[in-house]
Symmetry: C2
Subunit: 202 residues, 2 copies
């Protein structure tokens, strides 16, 4: 395409936006054109937020969740039970669990799941750090809350084997029908799991 019709600064921004996951050249063009019509302040505040987020956010040295201060607010909160540890794949999963307001324990973020296809092995995750945490005898129960996907299941199986020798209680999030869901739209695997994990009504 003749470069004359796309100003260089516009093409640069389209290229930068295209590097983000799930954003192709078409979406990047639309976003760029949108920003072109907005006041300079919007682009500036987005630019500042980008740099500030990177410069002021790090990973907690205990649980590896994202945080402004190390250790993070959950790890340094004495009111959170140190005896129950919830193991998750990503920081976004911590936010999801917190939203339930049901869990009062602490977290450990693996930063991924075991996936031979993507060349991700146990050493690429924060598993060594998890096992070190479990050896300090404060934890009684480990809730493995990896995703109910192939990779998440494989990671859960691997973790369970590693944690077993420590004699701790290892649990996994219940599988079943989503609340508010419709039975007829549930896939067979989910429905089978829901049947297997049925509980007595009291």
């Amino acid at each position: 395409m003749p470069s004359s019709t796309i100003p260089r600064p516009v093409q640069t921004l389209i290229d930068e936006l295209s590097r983000l996951p799930g954003i192709g050249p078409k979406t990047a063009s639309r976003l760029t054109y949108f920003l072109l019509r907005q006041p300079l302040e919007q682009s500036k505040s987005l630019a500042e937020a980008l740099v500030e987020m990177k410069e002021r956010t790090r990973f907690c040295s205990i649980c590896f969740n994202m945080t402004e201060n190390d250790p993070c607010p959950v790890c340094s909160d004495e009111a959170r039970e140190a005896s129950v540890l919830c193991v998750l794949e990503e920081p976004l999963d911590v936010i999801a669990i917190e939203k339930t307001r049901v869990f009062k324990g602490r977290y450990h973020v693996l930063h991924g799941a075991i996936s031979p296809v993507d060349d991700v092995g146990p050493d690429d995750l924060r598993i060594k750090e998890l096992l070190n945490r479990l050896r300090d005898n404060k934890v009684r129960e480990v809730i493995i809350a990896t995703n109910p996907s192939y990779e998440g299941e494989a990671t859960a199986m691997y973790l369970q084997k590693q944690i077993a020798p420590l004699g701790l209680k290892v649990t996994r999030l219940a599988r079943g029908l989503p609340v508010g869901g419709d039975l007829e739209y549930a896939d067979e695997t989910t429905l089978a799991r829901a049947l297997e994990g049925r509980s007595e009504m009291s």
Copy 2:
């Protein structure tokens, strides 16, 4: 949700990204988390591109396409025919037409289409500027290349009525374009055919 689990700089970036069209809070979270794992340089170069695009790009005072220098490269290119003017809704449409390499004339960007539903009337578009350009007697043909949508058709009809008294040839892109589609997403061949098969409006 307890603010403790989302660091403030992370929430700020999620909020800023959510202001972009087509990006909801979920996508904004994913993008933020992606950038958190990337080197600082990626966020910095995106931030610089954002500000530079706004500071160094303006609209051409003749055709209203986006440009680094005013007038834009097309308007200041003597090799481009001044006798044929292609009228478009958006700067992204100029890029789409240029890609066909069929059109050698000049452009006029309206910056939208007439849409009573969105409260966009003729005065909100660069129509006055278009009519002024047509009065200098250089233009012989006006190709109306607004989108083949309801708004684009309405704009084309309006323009045709306005231009008719000037005694110029007014053409419309051939109906090879899928109705209800968006010009920007048309493939190059279809768009080239539509240019070649343009018909005179009566």
